[in-house]
Symmetry: C2
Subunit: 333 residues, 2 copies
């Protein structure tokens, strides 16, 4: 198995990307990595490694560039060269911490959608309070969705849960502003009807944003605008809680400071658990080959996590499962 | 100043509502409360109090009733009788912990909108990390909004910030999935243009959901569906953090448990700070008289908080400010 890694994507590239790639090679002796970017710089950073293939790419796509233009014109960029390697069958999946727009557009164009997929979507796996995870799909790749897209998001995320996390019959919920069937805006009411009648989806109904992490649902589908709001509100709140906690400890005197010291490992574990970026990135689902978009601020640990995440998606046959499910469900309809 | 309180709204009514009302009368010797519900029960709970007026109301509107029907047919309900008191000028504002739908519809019908308000909206004040608060408007009273509604939400929330919290020129942001002006769905792009050009609004641009609590914005406007997702995702995450923290402490052995014990006051303060319901409820803005919807699970403390919140809205002239602002801005346009 070979994984393409965009060597010049992300705020801390190429240094942290190289470190992350080496860490992944260390953790899994069965994978190979195809790393793209300025050869001399990458060689200087990585040294020699028999499972690390360096492919020269002289250009870099910045986060301020128009994605469609950048992907089309910068054919020698680290991202496009990595995508081409996947397209040509030289690699089985891809990781990039670069411009989200460029990764989404480039991957859709170069790697292509699984037959039957209307729109690929971004889908992070978030930790639940019961120790599992929930896939939130879509989180921002598509805004102004048609209701039918969300049925596709459900199938894609279900294939991901089955392939990577081994769930047999993932429970699918629709993000809504109330639990009752009649709740919501015109869009969510229409989505509810479609999901309820879709074959092969274990639809459990509407899910309020406060219950996403409850552990009572395995997949939550949403328009990318709403999914993005839910995800970022969760991130912002987690940060706010830690920030207020710190203020409270500071104001709480010696006793509070001592207590905080004793709880340090617990706080650290909690922070790690909540930060899904630390484990990898957001899967970009619906493509013929797995793609993971790591956070722009990823350091070595996150890059390594993202590489192992793509490995799991390849090994779990996420794309193949989706293709088979779509084939089957279309025949059943 | 007299405040009408729905004595039979909320999961713990009438007992906790009565307790909350008495606590508010104790805290502020200048207010009177007009409490509605079954007279004999309320008298038994409250005893005699010279600033507590009990008005008999024999019916109760349940949370499972269709709001429009309930408000129209249950004229003798505790909610409708309280609304009538406001409508007739016997009270200056209202608190209810009852059915959200019935409160919104009843208040809009009975109390009426300020001239120029397209849609009243629900607007909780959330604590920011810098010690202030941010008004999130709308949080669920209106879904499928027209872009013009959001300009109104901004004016309403600005009048609230000015009147109650004393801000001179509140910064207004638009909830969006990216900070750049061109980001968002078709709706948010249109809203952005309207807000940018609206007179008398200090519009600072798009705000991502992760930055709502940052303290860098005083008012965040959104379609009620999106605002609801942001609010509930924040609630759910705060709960998840506490739940995971508890698990971590439990698993962390004696040292962690001792640390937690020492941090107990800090945790308690943090929880209280994050739970905006503990301080009151969500203001229902845009009406001729202030209305606060307390959470259905409110106990005495929250009811008391909501009553004092309505008092502040009356004292701060929130409705009058809004009326004046709308008059002025319409003339300027």
């Amino acid at each position: 198995m070979r994984i393409a890694v965009d060597g010049y994507g992300g705020d801390y590239s190429p240094t942290e990307v190289v470190k992350g790639a080496l860490a992944a090679l260390e953790q899994d002796k069965d994978i190979e990595i195809l790393l793209t970017g300025k050869r001399e710089e990458l060689v200087a950073l990585a040294g020699e490694h028999d499972r690390l293939i360096i492919r020269d790419a002289r250009e870099v796509i910045g986060c301020d560039e128009v994605p469609t233009v950048a992907v089309r014109t910068k054919k020698e960029s680290s991202l496009v060269v990595a995508l081409d390697a996947v397209k040509d069958g030289e690699a089985d999946g891809l990781v990039s911490a670069g411009s989200t727009g460029a990764v989404l557009i480039g991957a859709t164009l170069k790697i292509g959608r699984v037959k039957g997929v209307e729109r690929p979507a971004l889908a992070p796996a978030l930790p639940t309070v019961t120790g599992g995870n929930v896939i939130l799909c879509d989180c921002g790749a598509n805004v102004d969705c048609r209701p039918t897209y969300l049925v596709g998001f459900a199938r894609m995320a279900v294939a991901y849960q089955k392939g990577v996390f081994g769930l047999e019959n993932p429970r699918v919920g629709l993000l809504n502003n109330g639990a009752e069937e009649t709740k919501g805006n015109a869009f969510s009411v229409e989505c509810h009807g479609l999901l309820k009648n879709a074959k092969g989806i274990n639809f459990i109904g509407n899910v309020e944003a406060r219950d996403i992490l409850s552990g009572e649902v395995d997949v939550v589908v949403a328009d990318g605008f709403d999914g993005n709001v839910a995800l970022k509100s969760a991130e912002g709140t987690a940060n706010a809680v830690f920030s207020l906690l710190k203020q409270g400890i500071y104001a709480g005197g010696t006793r509070a400071k001592l207590g905080a010291l004793m709880l340090k490992p617990v706080f650290k574990g909690l922070k790690r658990k909540l930060d899904y970026n630390e484990h990898g990135g957001a899967a970009f689902l619906g493509l013929k080959k797995p793609v993971v978009k790591a956070h722009g601020s990823s350091k070595a640990k996150s890059i390594c996590g993202a590489i192992l995440q793509v490995r799991d998606m390849i090994a779990g046959g996420v794309s193949e499962r989706l293709a088979a499910d779509l084939q089957k469900d279309v025949q059943n309809d």
